[in-house]
């Protein structure tokens, strides 16, 4: 199977402490373009939901005159999801509570700028 242009990026993100999966997803249809997830993570379903959340956030920010969404973070009791997008592509990571979100945020925003 051929590697996508995102494979290296996803591998790098998945090396972060507490990150259990990362993927690039199309915001328009919620389909995963490439992923690097641990066994047991329901990547497809989560990718679609993360893409939908990103889309809603983008539209809400547009309506509110807040400009372009640069980073999104959904927190839960034992972890969360982070997303950073560019155009139709959204970079998503799934992390446990022990992840260093600050570091992950910086890496994801930098990586998102290079998404094409």
């Amino acid at each position: 199977m051929n590697k996508t242009p995102y494979a290296e990026l996803l591998t790098m993100l998945s090396r972060h402490r507490g990150v259990v999966g990362s993927f690039v997803v199309s915001e328009r249809d919620g389909l995963s373009i490439d992923s690097n997830v641990q066994i047991g993570v329901q990547a497809e379903a989560v990718a679609a939901l993360a893409a939908s959340l990103h889309r809603k956030a983008r539209l809400a920010c547009g309506a509110a005159g807040c400009g372009t969404v640069t980073f999104l973070r959904l927190d839960a009791e034992r972890g969360g999801i982070c997303a950073a997008g560019r155009d139709d592509l959204v970079l998503v990571t799934i992390s446990e509570a022990r992840a260093n979100i600050g570091l992950l945020r910086v890496e994801m925003m930098r990586a998102a700028r290079a998404l094409t």
Partner: protein, 317 residues
């Protein structure tokens, strides 16, 4: 006082689910540590949201902070939970007096059931005198301003009255100390009742003009709050509509991942930060702030807005 706070803090540390948070919060309030007192009270209310006494303690803290609107909300909540709550009636009685709602003030002070206390008796007498003067004025030509002055003038010692009121009931046999002086000046500044109060729900919870807050229901309809864009246009409805379903999608995503319930959603954009939290009845609290606002402060504002939203929903639903 310091010893008492230390002892109560130790008690609470040993058993965080105990009701000792009430006397602790009140002791902190009396010591002037209002921010800490509020945190203790709010945390306690998270665990025990249906305790009228706890809402009464929080109301006193808000009153001392000068936030009489929230104090009033908390006392109203205490009365919903316990319609005979003396302290809540007393607090609302003075709020009503300051608003000029003398009939309501008289009713609440009477209902406080603490007539035996000299201070309350004096305050009640003052309110009744003002009521009597008002009645007399109605039968006189409207040429005198004397009655208006009398009604607007505060009772002699409203603070003393509340301070002398009976101690807060002490659950589990704990000693709850008598309330101390509330912020009388704050009561004096209470705004007139506003019919568009839902729109103003979060105003006192926010810190600046560059911040907005909304309460949005599960269908993306605005329940309370307001949102204007940089040009001053009201965009609350459209923002709320775009956020319809966020709560359910976040919940589904977390269920798929087994990460527990979702607690907050933070969206950073070029010009602003949007933060959201799930609220009761499937609703969503949204706070927006400019990018200059530290993210940590946005989360704090979100906590405040959620507290207001919970109380408001409990009252109106």
């Amino acid at each position: 006082m310091a010893d008492e706070i230390t002892r109560l803090s130790d008690d609470l540390a040993r058993d965080p689910s105990s009701l000792v948070f009430m006397p602790l919060a009140d002791a902190l309030r009396r010591a002037g540590q209002l921010d800490v007192a509020m945190r203790v009270a709010l945390r306690g209310l998270d665990r025990h949201p249906y305790l009228a006494d706890a809402h009464d303690v929080l109301a006193r803290i808000y009153a001392d902070r000068g936030d009489v609107e929230r104090a009033s909300d908390e006392w109203e909540m205490a009365l919903r939970l316990d319609p005979s709550h003396a302290q809540a009636n007393l607090g609302l009685g003075f709020v009503d007096f300051r608003r000029g709602n003398l009939e309501s003030a008289e009713r609440r002070l009477s209902a406080a059931g603490v007539d035996a206390q000299p201070g309350v008796v004096a305050a009640l007498a003052h309110v009744r005198a003002a009521l009597g003067s008002r009645a007399e004025t109605r039968s006189m030509p409207a040429s005198t301003g004397a009655v208006a002055m009398m009604v607007e003038s505060p009772p002699e010692t409203p603070a003393t009255v509340i301070a002398n009121a009976p101690p807060t009931r002490a659950p589990n046999g704990m000693v709850a100390t008598p309330p101390a002086t509330p912020s009388v000046s704050a009561v004096r500044e209470f705004p007139a009742p506003d019919p568009s109060r839902a729109r103003q729900l979060f105003v006192s919870a926010l810190e600046g003009a560059d911040q907005s807050a909304l309460l949005v229901d599960a269908d993306g309809l605005v329940l309370a709050g307001s949102y204007t864009d940089a040009a001053g246009h009201d965009v609350a409805d459209i923002v709320a509509a775009q956020l319809a379903g966020v709560s359910s999608e976040a919940e589904r995503a977390m269920r798929h991942l087994g990460l527990g319930a979702w607690t907050s959603l933070l969206v950073e954009a070029d010009e602003a930060v949007l933060a959201m939290m799930p609220a009761p009845l499937g609703s969503l609290v949204v706070v927006a702030a400019s990018r200059q606002t530290p993210v940590g402060l946005v989360r704090l504002l979100l906590d405040r807005a959620l507290t207001r939203a919970r109380d408001w929903l409990a009252r109106v639903s």
